[in-house]
């Protein structure tokens, strides 16, 4: 029963791999915005990953993993046919999907993967979905076709202008607003700096913005408190109260600081385990 076998592996970008994993009980229940925690083997960390897609009939969950350190590198080395030891989910509160009217879904870098099921669900709920996809450069812009299929309009921005408009998500948002769209809600998922920049900007515009936080986690059930995020005056546990929060209330400085808790140890793990970005793929 505990199979968690990789049935499909697809390299999306140099350090980014998509896996479709057999996990029928998770697939039966998962909703957009939720995540799983995986472990490769007995000695592995518990690694949180957002669900990018699910197929209830096939009983599979799709995740997209970016190699940023020892564990994600090990995961990305998995081949079709190999298995995860543990695969727990669905965790977290699902996205609040309703018919809002016009909705903007922003995905930055790897963040395009988690925005995908949210955009799809929002569209199915009747929203006019405009997606803004951003990356540093064209090669890193993942899941373009998939996003086009679930959006009414797609705007692409790259830092270096190698694809779409040169600029940031805010540049894309300006374009949309200039066309006269009345945007009701924005979902913004990506690196912390991107979410912070978007939230700062949309606060000035008065557009509600939901971000998905990715603090360091251990259990994912509200037991350890590692994932504390400050939202307004309250401390929340992202794994059970989130991971989505009102971007205008999140303390991003604290969140970014907290991501550095284990920097020294992470470097040691990489050196010890000989699986790192330098290891090459």
């Amino acid at each position: 029963m505990h199979l968690y076998q990789v049935v499909k592996r697809r390299q999306l970008a140099p350090a980014i791999v998509l896996f479709e994993v057999e996990a029928p009980r998770v697939a039966a229940k998962v909703k957009p915005g939720q995540f799983v925690i995986v472990r490769m083997d007995e000695k592995s960390e518990r690694i949180p990953l957002t669900v990018m897609d699910f197929n209830r009939e096939r009983g599979t969950i799709t995740i997209v993993v970016q190699d940023v350190g020892y564990s994600s590198c090990m995961i990305n080395n998995l081949q079709e046919g190999s298995s995860f030891l543990d695969f727990v989910g669905p965790l977290g509160v699902p996205s609040d999907i309703e018919n809002y009217g016009t909705v903007v879904c922003m995905g930055g870098g790897l963040g395009i993967a988690p925005i995908y099921p949210i955009a799809r669900a929002l569209r199915e709920a009747g929203n006019h979905v405009i997606s803004i996809l951003g990356a540093r450069t064209a090669d890193l812009l993942i899941l373009r076709e998939e996003m086009a299929a679930v959006s009414d309009e797609v705007v692409i921005v790259t830092d270096d202008g190698s694809l779409g408009t040169k600029g940031y998500h805010s540049t894309g948002l300006d374009q949309i607003l200039a066309q006269g769209h009345k945007v009701e809600v924005i979902w913004a998922i990506g690196p912390m700096v991107m979410m912070r920049a978007v939230a700062r900007y949309t606060k000035t515009l008065g557009i509600k913005t939901i971000v998905s936080m990715n603090p360091i986690m251990v259990d994912g059930t509200g037991m350890c408190g590692a994932c504390r995020v400050k939202v307004g005056e309250e401390t929340k546990f992202a794994c059970v109260d989130g991971p989505e929060f009102d971007g205008h209330l999140v303390d991003f400085e604290l969140a970014m600081q907290r991501l550095a808790f284990y920097k020294d140890e992470e470097n040691r793990a990489k050196a010890h385990g000989a699986c790192g970005q330098e290891g090459g793929h």
Binding site: K29, V218, C224, A226, Q257, E265
Partner: protein
């Protein structure tokens, strides 16, 4: 005669040695020591010791068998009341339970009931044969939510009655606090897993990685899952923080995180095991219960130079087991009593670097009967720290309770269960352990699991269908 034999000390690793390893501190009695200690028992006609044990272990009976050298028979006697003697022998607060009521304690030292219990259970693990006979199946199915001591005890008794039992456990291993909280040096994880393997041999199915409230719910288990009854034993796993400034600084852990990384994820073997744990040089552990002692002693073993327990009451009010406080002291943990932090301060990168503390004195007894601590005005002082472990208590995790309509909770979010039957406000749903009582003890949780198993049995047989 009996009184003349002094209570046998527990052989332990030397403090200076054990402060740097994760091996078990207490080494256990030898056969000779156990027999000699057992002979101290007066075999009272009215054994007061039993009334001090929450599950009323047949104390004189099993001790007599130890004195006679029949250790395996002693194990059978023990297990009549206690499903997890190897664990309870190690972690029960005996000094406030069984041993506090031993008649010998009136004039001298009580019989070392806990140590004998541990000896017998360990002997059985080593030399006993598994009694893996499976009873005839009843065709009834029970879902147990949570694989801690309450859930495991309930599962064991229900399996013995022939019911099909499935344990749903959120983490990747069952055991609850026994696996993620209590450290290896106090309770080797191999012992917990031996108990869990016994359950599996009895036919109990353990489904790890399944968070009830997320992947399934109590209602769903009963409606479409085919379960005739449910036991909820999800514990008190929600860590409390103090609510003072600076608690989200880097270097500030909940005890749960600190201990989970170390025990469950084996961070003490990092980087061989990939989960990091970071401890600085000057560690403050807030609180003085078992969790705090475990946090402090773990910090020491991870390489901290100076570890302090910071507690606003005095030594007498410390809720930790006496043995743990004693071991902690031997290992060189500082006790900064009548002291409490009011704020934590960080450096420019957000790392905790000091705490402002207040000194306290003891005032009048409060509702709990303990003298309540009163801050001394103007007593603020700074304590330099680079790691803080918050161990001031845990509450009920709401994942199951919030997803179960119709389940009555008390003000604190604990499940309300009938003290006799452990039935909840929902028909067919029973609950016990820390989720009902609030953070308590292993033996109480285990006892609740057994009690619930008995009433679930009755419920499944059509008795007691009061709900």
């Amino acid at each position: 005669m009996a009184l003349k034999i002094p209570r046998h000390e527990m052989p332990c690793q030397e403090p200076a040695v054990r402060a740097h390893n994760f091996d078990e501190v207490a080494l256990g009695y030898t056969e000779e020591m156990a027999v000699e200690e057992a002979k101290r028992c007066l075999q009272c006609k009215k054994p007061t010791c039993r009334s001090g044990c929450p599950v009323e272990v047949l104390i004189p009976d099993f001790i007599k068998q130890v004195a006679e050298g029949d250790f395996l028979a002693a194990a059978v006697t023990l297990k009549e009341k206690n499903s997890l003697p190897a664990i309870c022998g190690r972690v029960c607060p005996q000094e406030t339970q069984c041993e506090s009521r031993c008649i010998l304690g009136k004039k001298g030292e009580p019989v070392a009931i806990g140590r004998l219990e541990r000896f017998v259970a360990d002997y059985e693990i080593k030399f006993g044969e598994s009694h893996g006979e499976k009873p005839a199946p009843t065709g009834k199915k029970v879902a147990i939510i949570g694989g801690g001591p309450s859930g495991l005890a309930c599962a064991g008794d229900l399996a013995k009655s022939g019911h099909g039992v499935t344990v749903f456990e959120a983490l990747h291993v069952a055991g609850g606090v026994l696996m993620y909280g209590i450290p290896q040096f106090r309770l080797p994880k191999e012992i917990v897993q031996t108990e869990i393997n016994n359950l599996k041999e009895m036919g109990v199915e353990i489904r790890t990685n399944e968070v009830v409230g997320k992947i399934t719910s109590v209602d769903e288990l009963m409606a479409s899952g085919g379960y005739d009854a449910v036991f909820i034993g999800t514990g008190a796993g929600l860590p409390y923080f103090m609510g003072i400034p600076g608690e989200n600084l880097l270097g500030v852990y909940s005890a749960n995180e600190f201990l989970t990384r170390t025990n469950l994820m084996k961070g003490y073997k990092f980087p061989e095991y990939a989960t990091p744990i970071k401890v600085g040089k000057k560690v403050a552990v807030l609180g003085a219960g078992n969790v705090a002692m475990d946090g402090a002693r773990t910090a020491l073993r991870l390489g901290a130079e100076e570890v302090s327990i910071v507690y606003r009451r005095s030594r007498e009010e410390m809720p930790a087991r006496a043995e743990e406080a004693h071991h902690a002291e031997e290992e060189g943990i500082n006790f900064r009593l009548l002291t409490n932090p009011v704020a934590l301060h960080g450096d420019e990168k957000g790392w905790v670097k000091s705490m402002t503390c207040l000194r306290y004195e003891l005032g009048e007894p409060d509702a709990s009967g303990r003298r309540s601590p009163v801050p001394i005005p103007g007593s603020e002082f700074e304590l330099e720290v680079d790691t803080v472990v918050v161990a001031i208590g845990q509450g009920p995790n709401p994942l199951v309770t919030k997803s179960t309509p119709g389940l009555e909770l008390n003000r604190r979010g604990n499940i309300v269960a009938d003290p006799e039957t452990l039935a909840t406000s929902k028909a067919g749903v029973f609950a016990g352990g820390d989720i009902v009582t609030g953070a308590a003890t292993v033996i109480l949780a285990m006892g609740a699991g057994k009690k619930a198993a008995a009433s679930i049995n009755a419920y499944l047989n059509g008795e007691n269908r009061s709900h």
